[in-house]
Homo-oligomer: 254 residues x 4
């Protein structure tokens, strides 16, 4: 039987600022990546989001980002491997304390935004991040872009990893994501997105923009939590996967 995890970024509110639709989205995903206060989130939001995810039986993970609240952690910064290690240790620790305080166990770590993208292409940053995760808790699962340096680094240090795929992004024939700056980077049709995910999960393949099939490993699918269609799409993809006989469950229970 095929199995896959659905993950979503969560806990991105900050102080009086609201972002996302966490409570509703949590009904449809199996892993929650919770912001840790650097690119988004704050101690109060973290506490509430951890509790909410645990109450709904969704696995909890840390979503560490660059220290850039005004840029939402999306702007590339030239940080050293040492700095990446330190940022990740700090943020994993902060989130894990809320998980412990609520009596739970943290499942995974998924870097956010620019940190995720920088790591995907940098063996050095990925090694630093993977070591940070391993040293804090070797039982944690490291989420990274399928085929990326981050997944390789995670395996190399002895962590369990989850290869992440995107439902609504198109792929290149080398297995990378089509850059957002290009015209056909996004799959705007929900049915196309669902079909792409099903094929990645069931056949381990994705049809690239160049018309060639590319092998891809799909352990977990990223679901976007904001935007007006997020909730509708989350429900749809979960239903379609179940309908197709794919078990949707958290990585740690697969």
């Amino acid at each position: 039987m095929y199995r896959v995890d659905l993950n979503c970024d969560m806990g991105e509110s900050f102080g009086s600022y609201r972002m996302g639709n966490d409570e509703a989205i949590l009904d449809h995903v199996t892993s929650a990546n919770i912001a840790c206060g650097f690119h988004a989130g704050d101690p109060g939001t973290m506490r509430k989001t951890v509790k909410l995810a645990m109450d709904k039986g969704v696995a909890v993970g840390a979503h560490p980002g660059l220290p850039d609240l005004v840029g939402f952690g999306r702007r590339n910064m030239e940080i050293s491997a040492q700095e990446a290690y330190e940022l990740v240790v700090y943020q994993i620790g902060a989130l894990s304390a809320f998980v412990k305080a609520e009596g739970g166990t943290m499942q995974h770590v998924k870097p956010h935004g620019a940190l995720y993208n920088l790591a995907a292409k940098s063996a050095e940053l990925s090694k630093a991040i993977a070591e940070a995760v391993y040293k804090v808790d070797p039982e944690l699962v490291l989420f990274g872009l399928a085929g990326s340096e981050l997944v390789k680094a995670g395996e190399s240090v002895g962590l369990r990893t989850a290869s992440e795929v995107f439902a609504d992004r198109s792929y290149q024939q080398d297995g990378s994501l089509t850059p957002r700056s290009q015209q056909d980077a996004l799959l705007t049709d929900h049915d196309d997105a669902v079909q792409q995910v099903l094929r990645m999960v069931q056949e381990g393949k994705v049809l690239s923009r160049q018309g060639v099939d590319v092998a891809i490993k799909a352990d977990t699918v990223c679901i976007h939590g904001d935007g007006s269609h997020a909730l509708v799409f989350a429900r749809k993809i979960r239903e379609s996967l179940s309908h197709a006989g794919v078990a949707v469950q958290a990585v740690s229970s697969i």
Copy 2:
């Protein structure tokens, strides 16, 4: 045999900014209170300070503060008990991840600056802080001003506590510290300070400004780490205690 712990605030550098003389002071104290990034400290400083303390055999603790870097956590803020709980969980978690990554165990938590002072007088804030510590790790020792609400709250939730005394501050007949705004708040003579500590440790008493002896519990003595005389005084008090037959050791080993 009498025993006492000597603690000092550490890891208060931030980015390119240096503060304190941690490496030298660590030769004289037995517990290090390490800043967690809110009032001082940053992930890199935390990593280095944790390692330095462990290398020197000094017990490591978290030193959570108010979110006020420019004010160094010394300005009172009207935070709710809920906010105090969240701030403390977050910061303990962040520091504990560095301790784990270095293969150590965190010994204690001591709130910093305005948070320490506000908690000393507020049963509500103290309860929130004590619960935060307990929920993250019930083995942690909570440091608080001797006789304060914080020590009471720690005992009440089931934590081990350490009553903190000050070598260079004078006391009032109700056991409180003489406010810094008053003339005779500070003991400027090193010998007087040493005698005050010895008496607190050996007799459980301190002579108040009003000329009356007051009962006081002295589990740990706060040593200041900055200022030109800090190092000299740290060495002197440690030597004087040893000379008087008082064992100077970390709270967790007492």
Copy 3:
């Protein structure tokens, strides 16, 4: 002819976080208090909000707050008069640069949240704030709670001031606002709120909770910009004032 200004807090978005409904509210008010990056706002939001207000012919003012983004500047902090002076100079300067860059002139300064409330009752903080405004630009109008220390301090240093009243808050017989912690602090009925404003503007009186009329000066009325009813109420109060023959115009043009 009676005249009054309608002011609203604006520019409170931050990075990717949206707050308020500035564009729509600007159609109904005559003065915009724009956040300056300490409690809310960021350079991009400031630029856009200044331009938007100027395009709609609304007078622009700075809305300096405490350095507490996560608390939205609403938590009291014990800052010194010197710190208040410095915070206000800094934030006025930052906003005024955007106003100059767009070819406009800044009309006023209104402290935000806890800074506004602390100043209302503290002659010392008010003096520091008033001096900050005066030294940066003596032509600026200082907005403060009617009858407060801030208005007195503004007059004392030689600034033009605007006494601010609230449409939806009830008053005590000493002219102060009923604390929000009390049951009848808010006027929930729009018609009552409109009547209260009309009476304050036309008769210089408000009926206190104690049933006694109190003299009050109403140069500008605070309109809240968030919440679902904000826009409806802003439109209603503006129409009611116009209907009653009260000229609604910016303080600087009165």
Copy 4:
């Protein structure tokens, strides 16, 4: 008669953290670049540093940086031209308010650290920065690396510019600075540094690492304010210039 300005970065303390030796260095330089709170500095430090510079007759400039306090504005960030414009407007405004409050006039703007370096090579960022300066105050002088895009952009928008040279950095035959990662990037001998500056000022030439003379414009020389030798070197270079008959004076008075 030859003339040159000596500038130094100042006001880089933050809250309780001290950096630099501003008071002493101010006796030897003619222009002070004052940090504006993003990479360093805070409202209190800005106020004090502006006053100190004015009291010593040193021309005051804004030193805007990237929003990266923990990295001291030295880490490259991928910011847009729009963001660069906004950052610079904000920070110039904040500093200029302190200058006005003290009754002075701001002379110049010099971007800091990574912002300075990114601008030097990017026509787009430089245009945004130059426009920000011009729109806030067209009388301001823009400081930029000699031969850089920033100087070109400044001239292009109609600003007066000052070409900056370094006493203690070696140059490449294309006129650029030898990257710090290379072995001979720094001139460690004070006499060599003084000779390099004298030749740049008097002959408009510098001997590159490749042994070829390169034409260079030297309106202002950057003096480093921290490090143990900073003060000695500042005094030495000023004396050597005066001795050689070069008038050392602020850019605005040249």
